[in-house]
C-alpha cells in the first residue's frame, strides 16, 4: 500500500492504495465518485476522462499513485458550488448532445479541455479533438453542435 494525498473536486483526500490501482478505480471505489465511468479496458473510449492538474486525462490510464499531490476534477466537480452548470454541461443539454449519457462525463470533460486550448475551434478541430472519446448513441452530430454552442460558434441543435 502506498499513501497518497490529493484534491478531488475541491476536497482534500488521503488514502492508502495498492500501487496497481488505477485513478478511475480510486475515484469510483474509494471516493464513490461514480459519475466517472469505465467503458473499456484499452483506453480507447474516453468515458473515464477527468482533469488532472487542469488537463484532461483518461483516468484508466493513470495510476492513483501518479495523482499523488495533484488536483483532480471530475464531472461531479464541474458545476458551481451553487449548482450552476458549467457552460459545456449546459450546451450538451441544450443541443441534445447525449442520449444514454454513459460517455457524457468523459465527453464533457474532454470538451472543456478542448475549448480551453482552442476557444473557437472549427468543426474539423472539434471532431479531431474528441477522437479519443467514443459515443454509440448520438452519431456525434449533436455533440459537435454542443461544442460549437459552448464555444459560441453555432446556433445550437438542429432538430
Amino acid at each position: 500500500m502506498t499513501r497518497i494525498s490529493l484534491t478531488v473536486d475541491g476536497q482534500n483526500v488521503v488514502d492508502d492504495v495498492e500501487p496497481r490501482m488505477l485513478l478511475v478505480q480510486y475515484l469510483r471505489e474509494k471516493l464513490g465518485k461514480t459519475g466517472t465511468v469505465i467503458g473499456c479496458d484499452t483506453s480507447n473510449c474516453g468515458a473515464c476522462t477527468v482533469h488532472l492538474d487542469g488537463r484532461s486525462v483518461k483516468s484508466c490510464n493513470v495510476l492513483a499513485v501518479q495523482a499523488d499531490g495533484a488536483e483532480v476534477t471530475t464531472i461531479e466537480g464541474l458545476a458551481g458550488a451553487d449548482g450552476t452548470l458549467h457552460p459545456v454541461q449546459e450546451a450538451f443539454r441544450e443541443c441534445h448532445g447525449l442520449q444514454c449519457g454513459f460517455c457524457t462525463p468523459g465527453m464533457i470533460m474532454q470538451t472543456v479541455d478542448l475549448l480551453a486550448e482552442n476557444p473557437s475551434p472549427s468543426e474539423e478541430a472539434i471532431r479531431l479533438g474528441l477522437e479519443g472519446n467514443l459515443c454509440r448513441c448520438t452519431g456525434y452530430h449533436n455533440i459537435v453542435r454542443a461544442v460549437q454552442h459552448a464555444a459560441g460558434t453555432a446556433e445550437g441543435a438542429s432538430a
Binding site: G35, T42, N44, Q99, L134, C135, R136, T138, N142
Partner: protein
Amino acid sequence: MTATQEPTRGEIGRDRRRKEDQRLITGRTRWTDNITLPGMLHLAMVRSPFPHARITSIDTEAAKAAPNVVAVFTGADLGEGQGACINAWPVVPDQVTPAHLPMPTDRVAFAGETVAVVVARSAAEARDAAELVEVDYDELPAALDLKESADNKVLAHPDLGTNVSAVWRFDSAEAGTGGDVEQAIAEARENGIVIEREYRQQRLIPAFMEPRSTVVDPTGEQITVWSATQVPHILRFAIAATTGVPESKIRVIAPDVGGGFGGKLQQTPEEMITFAVARKLGKPVKFTETRSESLLTAHHGRDQWQRLTLAATKDGHVTGLKVDLLADLGAYVAIVGGGVPVLGAFMFNAIYKFPAYQFQTTNVLTNKTWTDAYRGAGRPEATFAIERLMDELAHELGKDPLKVREMNWIKHEEFPFTTVAGLEYDSGNYEAATARAKEMFGYDALRAEQAERRARGDRVQLGIGVSTFTEMCGLAPSRVLGSLNYGAGGWEHAEVRMLATGKVEVVTGASAHGQGHETAFSQIVADRLGVPFEDVEVLHGDTQISHKGLDTYGSRSLVVGGEALVRAVDKVIEKARPVAAHLLEASADDLEFADGRFTVRGTDSGVAITEVATAVFAAHNLPDGVEASIDSEATYDPVNFNYPHGTHLCAVEIDTETGQVRMRKYACCDDIGNVINPLIVSGQVHGGLVQGIAQALWEEAVYDDNGTLVTGSFVDYLLPTAADTISFELDHTTSPATTNSLGTKGVGEAGTIASTPAVVNAVVDALRPYGVHDVAMPCTPERVWRAINSGGPGGETTQAAAPHFDESEGAAQ
C-alpha cells in the same frame, strides 16, 4: 395522407430539452456498477479459450486459497439452481434448440463461455484468483464457417446430429398473397431481366457504451436484481421460469442503462450466474464485465449470407423476388435468436410492388458467440439486400436508380396497401420524401460533378448512393406474434397516478436506456391531461413499480407504450368527470374537459383535474358509490405494425489510389408520422445513421481459424469516432399512422436500416467505371483498393486478422 404537422401550442411537437439530462451531465447517475451494498461480494468469470471442447477437470483449490476469495463455483456446483437461458421464439415447431445452461458442466460451445466463477471481497481479487483456476479441456472440432456449418461438416453440438436449427419459409403463392416466384423468374429468364446476387451481412457487435453489470441482493423477502438490461420484465419472467423462484419473489430493476441497441435484449448467462451465486451465499454480489468480455460474450448481430434473385420486365418493372438466407445463430439459440432473420421475411419486398415473393432462412448453429437482435433486427439485412438489388437493376437498365425505384414503389394514393408478404401498410408518401431528400442533397448538381470527375479521370471519384426503406415498427400485435409461435405478447402497459399535491406519476412498462422516454412521455401526458410538463414524473424499469410491461426494443415504446399511456390518461379523465360534476353541482353530461379543467358548458364554473385529485385524496365529499381514486391503468395491444419510411442519399469520395472512402454528404428525409419531440427524433436518426454507416465502412466481428474473436477490444473492433463521421442533413415528411391515437411511427431503428445500403451503393456507384459491381462490407480501404484493381468485391478481412495471443499460453485476454 401526407400533411404538414399543424403547429401546436401544446407540448406535442415541441423540442423540449430532456428531463433526463440534468443527472447525466452532472454525474449523478445510477449505473448498475455504481451500486454498492453492505458486505457485497464481487464475481469474476473463468472463460473458455476454446470454441468447442470437453471440460475434463476443473481445479479450483488454488483460487479458493487466494486472498479474500469467498468461494469458487463450477457449473456442477451451481446445479439446477443456475436455471437456464431461454429461447422465446422457436420459429418452427421442430426447431433444434441446444440446451443452454448459464455455466455448462461438461462441454463449452464457444470461446468465452463461462466454466467457473470466482467470488471475492473485491473485483480485483476475484479477477486475480480467476487466473488460478486450472481447467483441462479436450478440444473438439469447431463449426466456424457459416456455409460449411450449414452443410454439417463439423457439428457445433454433436448430440443434436445437425447444425440446422430451423428452416423457415414464406411463399406468396402458398400464402395466397401473390404469385409463383419460380414462374416469375422463369419468365424473366426468357424475356426480361434476372439479377442474381449473393451478399454478405458481416457479423457485428452492438457495443453499447455501458458494459453489462448485474447486482443481486438476496437479503430481505424479495431477491432484488439490478441489471444493465433493456428488458427487466422479460428478465424477471425468465429467471422465475427457469430457477423455480416464484416470480413474486423477484424484483428486477433496470436503473440508468447506458445504451442497448438490442444488445441488452437478452437473458444472459452472467445474470443467471450472479443470481445463483447470491442465492447460494445469501450475500449481495456484483458482476461487471470488462469491455473485452462484453465484445466476446454479449450477443452479436447480423451474420448472414443472402442469395437473392430478382426478376423484372425488360423495362424494369419488378415481377418476382426470391430470398434464400443462411443465418448464423452462434452456439445457442438466443432469446429472439432465430426470429431475427424471420423478422426480415416481411421486409425484403420493402416499398415495392412485387407480384411474387419467396423467402427462406436456414438458421445455423456454429461454435461462435450467439447472435440476436441488433438495431433493426432483420430489417437492415432485408433493406440492404433489396436496395443493393434495385441499384443493380438500374445499372442493368442504364437508368437512374431513383427512377427505377419510383417505377416500382407503392404510390401514395394506393395506401393502405397489402403487400406480397401479407402486411398492410397504413400510410406513406415515398414520392414526397424522395423529392425532399433530393432537394436537400442537391442530387442533380452532384450527379453533374460525378460525370465531370469521371470524364477527366480524377484520382478522387464521387459516388452517389440511394436508399429508400420502410420497416415494421411497434412490436407487435399479440395475435401476429402468436401466429409466428413467439412465446409472449406484444402489448404494453401504462398507469397514471394523480397525487394529492397535483403532481402526476406516470408508470410505463417500456424501459428506456437513452431514448428520452421521461421527456417524451411527459409531453404526451402534459398535453392530454392539461398539466405542466414539469409536474409529470415518469417511472419505469422496476418491476415493483412498473409491475407489468414488455420493455423496450423494436421501436415500440412510443407507438405501443405511448398509446397505452394515452388510454390510461383518458381513463383518468373519465373517472374524474363524475367527481368534478359532483363538486360543481352540475350534470356530468354538461361538463367539458380542456387544458386540464372541467367546465360547465356555457358558464365560468370549473374545476382543475388536479383539484379533483386533491378532493379524491381527501374523499370527504364524493358522490355516492364512486371509488376514492381516479388513478387509471391501460394495457394496449397494437392492431397493426406501423410503417415509417424514408429516402436517404449519400455521397462519398473515393481516393482510387489508396481506396480511402470519405463521406462527403448525407441527406435523408424520413416519414415517421407525427413527431412528439423533434430534438429526440433527430438524435435517434443521427445515431442510427452512424451505426448503419459503420456497418458499411468499418465494423466487423472477425474470428480466426481457431475460433478466437480477434476483434475483442476497441482497438480492433472499429467503432466510429467523431473524426470519422460528418454532420447530417435531416428533414421529415408526415404521413400520420392510422392505427394509433397520436399518429406516430417508430424512429429508433430507421437511420440504421437505411444508411448501410445508401453508403455501399455510393461506394459501388463511384467504382462502376472500374468494372466493380460489389464491395463486401465493411468497405475498408484495402477492399476498395483491391476491388478497383481486380474488379471483384475485395476479399475477406479474416485473412488480415493477426493472432492476438501466443497459442502456448492458451488463454484469450
